[in-house]
């Protein structure tokens, strides 16, 4: 399997995605924003479509549009003029509708969009892997460096404000990191399923972890294991890698829940 270059590229990208998605997802889940990843995923679709229309690298356009969409959700939510779920719905449907219109305008409705929606092992190029590795490393470094203030905000946002932390900037950073994760992951897991990889490993980890730090680290381990086994199963069983990866992660949640009940 590893004799094939496309599999080596897929595994390389999968390692980054498997570690990054739960690390970012931890902060979304704890802020009760689990569905933000889904919303940004739909916006990423518009970014892919824009890439087709402008003939630009799709990862780049998906990245730019996702970050803009994520920051818009955070801005609307933070101003509290619209309920959180309504803000999400607005961005969610605008993203998917914009994507369809842009793809149509680019005359690309016949292209294989399926691979972006649900992931495909064959689509990772060497250039993609370089971008995924570089941006993934930057995103993980940002989380490691800003771990304490990010945690302070999710534990007690008002307390963090009283302490003088730049709460709005840290919240914006969280959704920007989510957007980066989604743009980087769309080749492997697909933009409609990446949110699951941000959320499910964290849920599984929280059932068996003994501290907050161990929740993040276990979540990253479960995410990595889910992606690597998902890609492997997908290769041998000729299945879509995104769906397979997410099903592995979902199975991990059930196993962790079972363990948690047995342990008492």
């Amino acid at each position: 399997m590893l004799d094939l270059e496309f599999m080596r590229l897929a595994f390389g990208a999968g390692i980054v995605v498997g570690l990054l998605a739960p690390a970012v997802g931890f902060f979304l889940v704890q802020r009760r924003l689990s569905l933000v990843g889904d919303g940004i995923g739909h916006v990423a679709f518009a970014g892919v479509a824009l890439g087709y229309l402008l003939d630009l690298p799709l990862v780049l356009t998906a990245l730019v549009v996702s970050v803009a969409g994520g920051l818009s959700i955070e801005l609307i939510r933070a101003r509290r003029r619209t309920a959180g779920d309504q803000a999400l719905a607005l961005i969610f449907y605008t993203g998917i509708a914009g994507g369809v219109v842009l793809v149509s305008a680019a005359g690309a409705l016949n292209v294989n969009l399926f691979q972006f929606l649900f992931g495909s092992i064959l689509t990772v190029t060497r250039g993609d892997l370089a971008v995924i590795a570089a941006l993934g490393a930057c995103a993980l470094a940002a989380i490691a460096l800003l771990y304490r203030p990010l945690v302070a905000v999710v534990v007690d946002e008002e307390g963090a404000r009283v302490a003088g932390l730049p709460v709005s900037a840290l919240n914006a950073l969280t959704v920007a990191l989510a957007a980066v994760t989604i743009a980087l992951s769309m080749r492997i897991v697909g933009i409609l399923l990446i949110a699951a990889l941000m959320v499910l490993p964290v849920i599984a980890a929280s059932r068996i972890a003994w501290s907050m730090r161990s929740t993040i680290l276990l979540g990253m381990g479960i995410g990595l294991g889910s992606v690597l086994s998902g890609i492997t199963i997908a290769y041998y069983a000729d299945l879509p890698p995104g769906g397979t990866t997410v099903l592995v992660a979902a199975a991990t949640v059930l196993a962790a829940e079972f363990w948690s009940v047995v342990r008492g």
């Binding site: 931890f26 889940v29 704890q30 802020r31 460096l145 800003l146 304490r148 203030p149 945690v151 302070a152 999710v154 534990v155 007690d156 946002e157 008002e158 307390g159 963090a160 404000r161 009283v162 302490a163 003088g164 932390l165 730049p166 964290v202 980890a205 929280s206 972890a209 003994w210 501290s211 907050m212 730090r213 161990s214 929740t215």
Partner: protein
């Protein structure tokens, strides 16, 4: 606080023309009926709300704040030490790991609330009183000059209330900390405070507990 008025949106004002000055080292109880504006008052003090008119001036730099019904806003397992460490945020640099001095300050804060044996236990496994002490330790971790506690004994048993009252008295005596204590009932703390400020849309009483009119002795029923 000078000439403070505050309203949420277009609703009628919650507070009208409040003037309040608290000296360094004072232990002040903020009392009054539910909906009287106690929590709004302390949220104005710590900067979580902006007054509609008037101004608030804090002459201290570090403020520890324990919000009403304090609870960690997360589902993940959280240890006492992790919770208290988040309270150190205002004293540490934004980026990078915690320094040795910061770790020591966190340990001291946990020690002050007598939770050292439980420091690495999950918060959810502690009793209500122990959890509340952990949140007080979080507020103490920044070594504040002003400690603002909003209903810190709600939902804890009498024994735990006594422990919290004794702890606050010790903090005040040993560290000279200024304490604003919001509650609709005082229990064990009443004998320690030297000043009660009664709030019902504005300040209706400000003085020593002994001066409190009988009808207001239980401030939660202050309808006069």
């Amino acid at each position: 606080m000078q000439g403070i008025s505050f309203a949420y949106g277009h609703a009628p004002p919650v507070l009208r023309d409040v003037n309040l000055e608290v000296e360094r080292g004072e232990f002040v109880a903020i009392a009054g009926p539910n909906g009287g504006g106690k929590t709004t008052l302390v949220r104005l003090v710590v900067g979580l709300e902006e007054p509609t008119s008037g101004h608030v001036e804090l002459l201290v730099r570090k403020v520890g704040y324990l919000p009403q019904r304090a609870q960690a806003g997360i589902d993940a397992p959280l240890t006492v030490r992790e919770l208290v460490t988040t309270g150190r945020a205002s004293r540490t640099r934004l980026v990078g790991p915690l320094s040795g001095a910061d770790r020591e300050a966190v340990r001291r804060a946990i020690d002050r609330v007598a939770l050292v044996p439980q420091a690495d236990r999950r918060l959810s496994t502690l009793s209500g009183g122990q959890q509340q002490r952990a949140f007080i330790a979080k507020a103490l971790a920044a070594e504040p000059e002003l400690l603002v506690l909003d209903e810190p004994t709600t939902g804890v048993d009498v024994e735990a209330q006594d422990a919290i009252a004794a702890l606050l008295q010790r903090l005040r005596n040993e560290l000279g900390m200024t304490i604003l204590y919001v509650s609709h009932e005082f229990g064990a703390v009443e004998r320690f405070v030297e000043r009660i400020v009664l709030i019902r849309g504005g300040i209706v009483f400000d003085g020593p507990p002994s001066g409190l009119p009988d009808v207001w002795h239980d401030p939660s029923h202050a309808h006069a």
